[in-house]
């Protein structure tokens, strides 16, 4: 009788470890997939920026500083590694782009140019896609971290090789003040 109860407990424990392990693996894959989504969108943004800068360069010659800031921020963002670093450098790029769009608003020739408006739409779309990919990643990463930290999973999560996922968050207070530019209402 005692042996049976003992065996029962062992089996229950093994089943529990397997279930938690598989659950965590599933979440970890989702987190990685979420991160790749952000990556895809960031790359899209990096590819778009030279086009945008070229399109406005002619009309905004004396705003050279703004344009250079964008190109420099882009170059820096290309070298980012890992969520925290990327979050910081991409944040600066967002800021530079925001300023460029705000300045471009002051040029009537740019505002009425269909090409430029299309580029602005692309840029807004890309900025949003980065934002939503980040939102999705952070949500799923938080879920993954919570799953590791709740009792009793926390007893074995570490020893099975699970580490908390890094969130993609804005660390620099200055970046929180990115000027919001609304392109939707011309």
């Amino acid at each position: 009788m005692f042996v049976l109860v003992f065996l029962g407990i062992i089996v229950a424990l093994v089943v529990w470890v397997i279930a938690s392990y598989n659950g965590l693996v599933g979440l970890r894959n989702q987190v990685q997939n979420g991160w790749r989504q952000i990556d895809v969108q960031l790359k899209r943004r990096h590819d778009l920026i030279p086009n945008l800068v070229n399109a406005v360069r002619g009309s905004m010659d004396f705003e050279r500083d703004t344009l250079t800031a964008v190109m420099e921020a882009r170059a820096k963002a290309l070298t980012a590694t890992g969520p925290a670093d990327a979050a910081q450098k991409e944040g600066q790029l967002s800021q530079a782009l925001g300023r460029l769009i705000a300045v471009a608003e002051n040029y009537p020739t740019l505002k009425s140019n269909d090409n430029v408006r299309m580029l602005q739409e692309e840029l807004t779309g890309t900025e949003n896609k980065v934002g939503f990919a980040r939102q999705f990643y952070n949500d799923i990463a938080t879920k993954f971290n919570t799953a590791q930290q709740v009792f009793p999973t926390n007893i074995m999560a570490g020893s099975l090789g699970f580490k908390p996922a890094e969130l993609f968050e804005i660390t620099d207070d200055k970046e929180r003040d990115v000027p919001t530019v609304d392109l939707s209402r011309h």
Binding site: Q41, M118, E121, T124, G125, N128, K129, F132, A133, F136
Partner: protein
């Protein structure tokens, strides 16, 4: 209710509806066998078999072609086709819609649905399909022209939530089954006229058949007559509850309830009926395309027949989410 509970409840609902459907087919076929063909020795339940066979095939066919049928009925055109022929200003609008759909697909973590535009000046939108992997999203031309980017995003998020919550699957199944039930009820009614003589001779043979048989006959007739209406009501009931949930989870995707609230206000003020969207697909839309007055109030009667909750209540709920609720709307 969170997303997973919604999905689970939609899965349960799907099984329940399927079960009720099969039970109805049995009832229909069995009654036909008993009353019109006569239960003699060597009894082959031919009516039951036909009902089950025809019902299942018709329902399965509608399930797999339902989305195409709805899109065809509303004359929706794929957005890629429109983009090819559009001029500059038009291209911007189309590109914006594509971007917004992409954004919401990313936020929901789903593959991008196919996007269609319905040539109708009234602002409206709907989603259809068999699930996240086979989904289509359609907006009217009027919606594109009326809403700004943020509002469009709210509407697309609402439709994306219907896709993610598996509402579109339930809707497509319900629509397919409603169609099959209507078809079979129609056949059964015709069969009654055709088989009237058979029934009398059957009664003679069995000497009246007893009270139980008469009760079953009455139940059977009532079931045939009411089935299409009950099925339609079921579709409406499923849809109304889902609208509030889709509003809420749409706001969760955009993190901007005011976008959708403003969009609903604009859609509401353009109260003209959406001509291209017929009765059959009304329950799929973001706002009732028929502009029926029973959707304006809540109550037991409207609860039975309205396909959408009152617009004012939906807008109020969204504003409350944005901490902007006003006491009098």
């Amino acid at each position: 209710m969170n997303l997973y509970e919604q999905q689970a409840s939609n899965r349960r609902r799907t099984w329940l509806i399927m079960f009720a459907f099969i039970a109805f087919l049995f009832l229909l076929g069995l009654g036909f066998d008993l009353f019109f063909l006569g239960s003699t020795v060597g009894f082959v339940p031919i009516g039951s078999l036909i009902a089950l066979g025809v019902g299942s095939i018709s329902a399965a066919f509608s399930y797999f072609t339902g989305d195409r049928a709805v899109l065809l009925a509303t004359s929706a055109r794929p957005i890629e086709e429109l983009e090819a022929t559009a001029d500059e200003g038009e291209r911007l609008k189309i590109r914006q819609l594509q971007n917004v759909v992409d954004e919401m697909a990313i936020a929901a973590g789903l593959p991008r649905p196919r996007v269609y535009v319905v040539p109708d000046p009234d602002p409206n939108a709907f989603a259809t399909g068999r699930g996240p992997d086979h989904a289509s999203l359609a907006v009217t031309r009027g919606l594109l022209d009326t809403l700004d980017r943020e509002e469009l995003q709210g509407v697309v998020a609402h439709e994306m939530s219907h896709i993610r919550n598996l509402d579109v699957r339930v809707m497509t199944i319900v629509a397919a089954l409603v169609g099959a039930v209507a078809l079979l009820s129609d056949w059964a009614r015709r069969g009654m006229m055709w088989g009237g003589g058979g029934r009398r001779s059957d009664d003679d043979e069995r000497g009246g058949g007893g009270a139980a048989s008469i009760i079953f006959f009455v139940v059977w007739i009532v079931a045939i007559l009411l089935a299409p209406i009950v099925a339609q009501m079921l579709a409406m009931m499923v849809s109304r509850k889902r609208e509030y949930l889709a509003d809420a989870s749409g706001a969760e995707l955009t993190r901007n309830p005011m976008g959708l609230a403003r969009a609903l206000e604009k859609i509401e003020s353009a109260a003209a009926p959406t001509e291209m969207i017929k009765q059959g697909s009304a329950h799929l839309c973001i706002a009732d395309p028929l502009g029926r007055s029973m959707n304006l109030k809540e109550g037991s009667w409207s609860d039975l027949f309205a396909s959408h909750p009152p617009m004012a209540a939906r807008i109020q709920a969204l504003k409350a989410m944005a901490f902007q609720g006003e006491p009098h709307v």
